[in-house]
């Protein structure tokens, strides 16, 4: 203890010797081998730039850690970690040679670095798991002369296990077995507190040297399991930064181990391609001045019998370039309403702009008002009303996006006009595709397969569709062992579904979407809703186009399907009525919260809270937690259902037009409590893209 204190002081003194007083320099806020902002194994007081999304994977002798971290706000960050210990049974020979653990971290930067003040962060590591990696810490970091960072901190739990200074807040109680998976509040900042510290020295823009004194005794790996021989508290090594997104590190750890780490650091705010890619739009087509050609403004064309089909066909051709399909078009001499299905353009505002441009070519001069109604699943999501003259005047004006936004109206889509010319033959009623598909169950675990999708539009809003999935390769659990859950195994027989249902009919449904009234949206889905449950699901949503608040109600009656991926229900004799009332709220800056209260698949009753950060370019990162009346013993090792989810739009990385995304939901452990039917096309997310809270932040793309 005495030694560690001296070292800490020495480290600080070393750092201060380099101090110059002007210390606002930008050194990389690097990550440690646990995917947390920090030194090598120890955390630091730094935080990543807002919204940074990183994936880190490290190997420390027999231990592998894979971590996904997200800087939720400029000060708050969270992480989900999947950890594997190999040679786990070196001392206790048994069948399993591996042990897995999943953990969550949260950290909050109390102080950001100032001229004299260091940054200060308080963090919880593995705060709601089995406790194998649990620790709490405060860490302070100060940058000196652009090149040197010095970190000093105090840790509890694992980070207080070596060189402790005593127990300032009393003893650390052991984690009771039924508290596993719940926040270990009783343990926080209890037990031995130990100092840690270290330095980061930037050799040049690419290379960084790091050295630290670790307060983690590796009691679990060294004393308990004998898989790591911890000889020394000192770690040191080098890191190499390759471009803005990739960083490697190699270290000597604890005197006996070599550590390697790879970080992929992504900034959802900036596109990898530097901007919105894709070809330029066509220029607007201007009408002749009314004084020059008054005849052009004559509305007599509406009486021509073939005007409608000709206009519709010409429009369809122009819009096809951008993957926009016309569902309906209705017009009179002064106004046109076009209902579009946007399959490709990832920004609603850009799809609207492209549609408006096409209309300037096709619609006769007398048409002054463009009403564009984006249609999702056959129902109008909103109506954007644009005056043609405003478009014409603003095409080359400075700040034309804001100027146009002030002049347009976004309102409820309303019903399809009675005189609309439907697009029966304008879009393929039958769609199919065969695509590679991923199922990811946790970091470094997943399957690659093929998914065959087919859909038939009986009429807009009434869709018959299905998917078949065939696994090709992967390492998802396929043991096929029956669940030992105390609840109905509505989710925990996943390994049986994976093993016996390959290939499997994942979905086969008839879905009906409608607009029962202004601001109301409805969905009824009947059939094989997901791979484990089939039945009927109904949903009603209230969401005015300019409201931050939305309210919904959902009721489902489902039976549990057989594990073979077929049509039968013989294996489980289980049916249940589930349902929720839901409230959605857009907090601004992309934060969307949801609260669901109701009855879940295993018959348990409770509530789910979720918070997602939705970026206008399509990135989405969120977390959720469900607490129900199922006891933690019934739920299993996770205590209650919780997890994180993310979705990365492929066009963000690739620059191509397209709406495909890569993403998944990760849970520390899957239980049967708090489970909901996984039905496709829930209403809120499908229509939100065309409401003001999603259109406005990216409105600039209307001119793109």
């Amino acid at each position: 203890m005495d030694f560690s204190l001296r070292l800490l002081i020495a480290t600080l003194a070393f750092g201060l010797a380099f101090a110059t007083g002007t210390a606002q320099a930008e050194m990389t806020k690097s990550l440690n081998i646990n995917g947390a902002t920090g030194l090598i194994d120890m955390p630091s007081g730094d935080a990543q730039e807002d919204a940074t999304f990183s994936f880190s994977t490290s190997v420390i002798g027999p231990v592998t850690r894979a971590t996904i971290s997200f800087q939720i706000t400029p000060r708050l960050s969270g992480a989900f970690r999947f950890q594997t210990w190999r040679d786990w049974n070196t001392l206790f020979p048994a069948d399993n040679t591996k042990n897995d653990d999943r953990s969550f971290d949260l950290r909050y930067q109390v102080l950001s670095e100032g001229r004299y003040a260091p940054s200060l962060t308080i963090g919880l590591q593995d705060f709601t798991g089995k406790g194998l990696f649990s620790s709490e810490y405060i860490a302070a970091t100060k940058t000196f002369s652009d090149r040197l960072k010095v970190t000093a901190g105090l840790g509890w739990g694992r980070l207080g296990s070596y060189g402790g200074l005593g127990q300032p807040f009393g003893e650390r109680p052991p984690l009771a077995s039924d508290d596993r998976g719940k926040p270990n509040v009783d343990q926080w900042f209890r037990g031995d507190a130990a100092p840690f510290g270290g330095i980061e020295y930037k050799i040049n823009d690419r290379w960084t040297f790091k050295a630290e004194y670790s307060s983690d005794a590796y009691t679990l790996e060294d004393d308990t399991r004998g898989i790591i021989d911890r000889d020394s508290p000192f770690n040191f090594g080098i890191e190499y930064q390759k471009g803005p997104n990739v960083r490697y590190g190699a270290y000597s750890l604890y005197g006996t181990e070599i550590g390697l780490v790879f970080h992929l650091v992504l900034d959802p705010k900036s596109r990898a391609t530097g901007g919105v890619m894709g070809a330029a739009p066509v220029p607007l087509n201007l009408r002749p001045a009314r004084s020059a050609d008054p005849d052009a403004y004559d509305g007599g064309w509406v009486t021509q019998a073939d005007a409608g089909p000709i206009l519709r066909e010409n429009l369809a051709k122009r819009l096809a370039v951008d993957g926009i399909i016309i569902e309906d078009i209705a017009y009179n001499a002064n106004t046109v309403q076009i209902r579009i299905r946007n399959n490709r353009v990832d920004a609603g505002s850009q799809a609207i702009g492209r549609t408006a441009r096409a209309l300037t070519y096709v619609m006769p001069a007398s048409v002054e008002v463009f009403e564009i109604v984006p249609v999702v699943n056959g129902i109008g999501a909103s109506k954007i009303t644009i005056r043609r003259r405003d478009l014409e005047e603003l095409e080359y004006a400075a700040d034309n996006a804001s100027l146009l936004r002030d002049k347009i109206a976004i309102s409820d889509a309303g019903p399809v006009p009675a005189y609309a010319i439907g697009g029966e033959d304008l879009y393929p009623k039958f769609r199919w595709s065969l695509k590679p598909a991923f199922r990811i169950s946790e970091p470094l675990k997943g399957d690659v397969g093929l998914r065959l999708n087919a859909a038939y539009d009986i009429r807009p809003g009434l869709v018959f569709s299905g998917t078949i999935y065939k696994r090709l390769a992967g390492n998802i659990d396929r043991s096929g062992n029956p669940s030992t859950s105390l609840l109905q195994p509505v989710r925990t027989d996943g390994s049986r579904y994976s093993k016996f249902g390959d290939p499997a009919l994942e979905r086969l449904t008839l879905a009906w979407f409608a607009r029962p009234a202004k601001d109301f949206y409805s969905r009824v889905t009947f059939g094989y809703l997901e791979r484990m449950h089939a039945g009927v699901s109904g949903e009603l949503l209230w969401k005015p186009v300019d409201s931050r608040l939305a309210l919904g109600v959902e009721v489902n009656y489902t039976k549990q399907r057989d594990t073979d991926g077929g049509l039968g229900f013989g294996e489980y004799d289980y049916d249940v009525v589930t349902g929720h009332v839901a409230a959605y709220y857009d907090f601004g800056n992309g934060f969307v919260g949801e609260l669901d209260v109701g009855k879940y698949l295993a018959g348990d009753v409770g509530a789910t809270v979720s918070l997602d950060r939705v970026f206008v370019n399509g990135w989405r990162v969120g977390a959720f937690a469900t607490v129900t009346d199922a006891t933690s013993t019934e739920f299993g090792s996770g205590g209650f259902d919780k997890g994180v989810r993310f979705s990365i739009p492929l066009n963000w990385a690739l620059g191509e037009q397209g709406k495909r995304a890569f993403g998944t939901t990760l849970r520390p452990s899957t239980g049967d409590g708090g489970a909901r039917v996984d039905v496709d096309d829930r209403l809120y997310d499908s229509i939100r893209d065309y409401h003001t809270d999603a259109l406005d932040p990216e409105w600039g793309r209307v001119w793109r």
Binding site: G274, R344, N400, A401, P428, L650, A653, F662
Partner: protein
């Protein structure tokens, strides 16, 4: 059946098939798209498009034979060099386009918009041609881009014009006697400089700042 087999083969190569054309295939695009994005940034392949290896080496007669106005566009940051033609004229705004749909809109020779570059200039308020030729005159510029998260971003500059003097420049092996005007623009976070070589009421040549990601673009009016 043959089609289905071909399809399965395509999927095996990690692309996709079907008639669901809304979505481009995922992984094949991933590889190709990344390469393309990188190429367009590094070598300017995108803007060069159908042009031969070195635009500057094409004989003038070759260019003039089409009898249409031609502008040469050079983007030093991505080593792009292309000849572009007019796709739209509205009053004093002329929009020039590459063959693959990158456009440059100039008002009397002053750049106000680009599309298709990625880091585009979405709109701008810029000095008029008349303002440009006044030595010592000042003007305000505002540039609008799509920045982080595709949100609109604005940059304002205070600019001062300086008539550098008469310069004879060469554009595609033809000499032009021009007046060189420098427009120096500052804001708290930095400065940019636009250069114009005016030939009467025509901008014969210019170097104009476009966006943070694209930097400067050189324009040369090759054929009027």
């Amino acid at each position: 059946m043959t089609r289905l087999l071909a399809c399965i083969a395509a999927v095996a190569l990690m692309s996709a098939c079907g008639n669901d054309r809304g979505e481009p295939s995922p992984l094949a695009k991933a590889v190709g798209g990344f390469a393309k994005a990188t190429l367009s940034r590094v070598s300017g392949k995108r803007a060069v498009a159908a042009q031969p290896a070195s635009t500057g080496q094409i004989p003038r007669a070759e260019i003039e034979k089409y009898g249409i106005p031609i502008l040469r566009v050079i983007i030093p940051a991505r080593a792009a060099d292309a000849l572009v033609t007019i796709t739209d004229t509205k009053g004093d705004v002329v929009t020039w386009s590459t063959t693959d749909g990158t456009t440059f809109s100039l008002r009397n020779g002053v750049l106000i918009q680009t599309r298709g570059l990625g880091p585009d200039l979405m709109s701008a308020s810029a000095p008029t041609l008349a303002q440009l030729s006044q030595n010592g005159a000042t003007n305000q510029r505002a540039y609008f881009f799509l920045g982080a998260e595709d949100k609109s971003e604005r940059r304002d500059y205070d600019c001062t014009l300086t008539v550098v003097g008469t310069e004879t420049i060469e554009v595609f092996s033809r000499s032009h006697k021009t007046t060189h005007v420098k427009e120096e623009c500052v804001r708290a976070q930095g400065k940019i400089t636009n250069d114009f070589w005016l030939e009467g009421a025509l901008v014969r040549k210019s170097r104009q700042w476009t966006s943070p990601g694209t930097g400067y673009i050189d324009f040369e009016k090759v054929v009027d």
